[in-house]
Symmetry: C2
Subunit: 252 residues, 2 copies
């Protein structure tokens, strides 16, 4: 039996990246697409609890929902797919998901939800600005998917893949990386409505990244495809020991 | 100078828990409240990028915004507070934030945003069902805040605190814990609109938790206040080595 692969994203069902990813995954398995009906970037791992959700079948094995990427994965796995999938592939995202930004990313969160539901998952993003060369990411999406289906992933761990948005010839291969760290980035613009009310708009800053050979951002800057294993156990085990020593806890 | 403390939540500016937390923090510092104008539970670490945000000053040092908890912390630290705060306190949440649920939680995400902006932060939640005894959490909120202001926190680490929703006499003290793990929980209800269209509503399941002496959920069940150090570096370092060994990466 061919692997069953769920493809989703946070740019919405009409974004070109998801259809490129679906075509790539179709080379190795049977593909279902379940994605938000509109762009849902930076919604992070949001779940919709306050209203009912709708699933629309657009054509065979292609669905949209009015929920978040996380909702889409939960609905797909529990309500749409004929069986538990072998893989969740999220992307190809329009723009990078590097460093601390993984905590905001709808694409990475879709892969988180797959992982939480027991399905090996990866997120794949094109790091750079328009125009986006989605086709460049195809062989790497296939390589990552084959690796996961062949070797599986450690518990509670997904792969966060970022492909530099360059011509194929300028890509230097895959590098396994750590999650980088963004330095402070004061990216909130102030503006006024037509009636003179002050507003704030988040975005538009130029983040500064900490340097580090192993870091995701560094790999991308050097023309490598960055593959970061992202762990859903967020416990800081080193801090655990420090806390236990320095905090006079009652009982426990 | 007294410590400057930002208090926020995801239940919204009108939730009782935030005002209890603000009163607790006022015992040790100067408090600003900046919170969403309505409930924003399960929005996770969502940032609002697609529309401008509004800040409303309700009274001295009390503000609401039409953004998410993450937006509130970013706006507070960069636009509202007179200087960088010494502490971000998020809560007191109406309901637990344990195990994998930290990745969905707006309350924990507010503490994440504080941490990312370089401010030591904690999230505090009441674990249990209505009626909520917010006052029970007060001494522990103060103890946690004092610990952080006195000893600081490791890099990129916040504290996720869960207080069992019990009478004071039934609480057994603080335990330092790891993030627990929820077993699979098929919690999506199917329902029909008045016009007969099928919908899905997430929630209402009874999750099953993996057992483990050190785990957050276990501590709460036994009547302890659970304090988990949550790390924002999600890299799975053990997996990093495995990947490097088992993946024939090009270059890198």
């Amino acid at each position: 039996m061919r692997p069953l692969i769920l493809v989703t994203n946070d740019d919405g069902i009409n974004a070109p990246g998801i259809h490129t990813l679906a075509r790539a995954m179709a080379e190795i398995g049977e593909v279902y697409i379940v994605a938000p009906d509109r762009e849902r970037s930076a919604v992070s791992h949001a779940l919709t609890l306050h209203r009912p959700l709708r699933i629309e079948e657009m054509r065979d094995r292609v669905y949209n929902t009015n929920g978040t990427p996380t909702d889409c994965v939960a609905l797909a796995i529990t309500k749409i797919l004929p069986r538990k999938p072998d893989l969740v592939a999220a992307g190809i995202n329009r723009g990078a998901n590097l460093g601390d930004d993984v905590t905001y990313s709808g694409t990475v969160s879709a892969a988180m939800e797959g992982t939480l539901l027991g399905v090996p998952s990866f997120a794949i993003s094109l790091a750079g600005d328009r125009p986006f060369h989605y086709d460049v990411a195809v062989p790497f999406a296939i390589e990552v998917a084959r690796y996961i289906l062949d070797k599986n992933l450690p518990d509670d761990t997904l792969l966060n893949v970022n492909v530099p948005n360059r011509q194929k010839e300028a890509l230097r291969g895959i590098r396994i990386t750590t999650q980088g760290k963004r330095a402070y980035d004061n990216a909130i613009q102030e503006l006024y409505s037509p009636s003179g009310e002050k507003h704030f708009w988040i975005g538009g800053g130029k983040p500064i990244w900490e340097q580090g050979e192993d870091m995701d951002m560094q790999a991308v800057l050097e023309g490598y495809i960055s593959v970061t294993p992202v762990h859903l156990d967020l416990t800081n085990y080193a801090a655990l020991e420090v806390l236990k020593k320095t905090w006079k806890t009652t009982g426990g």
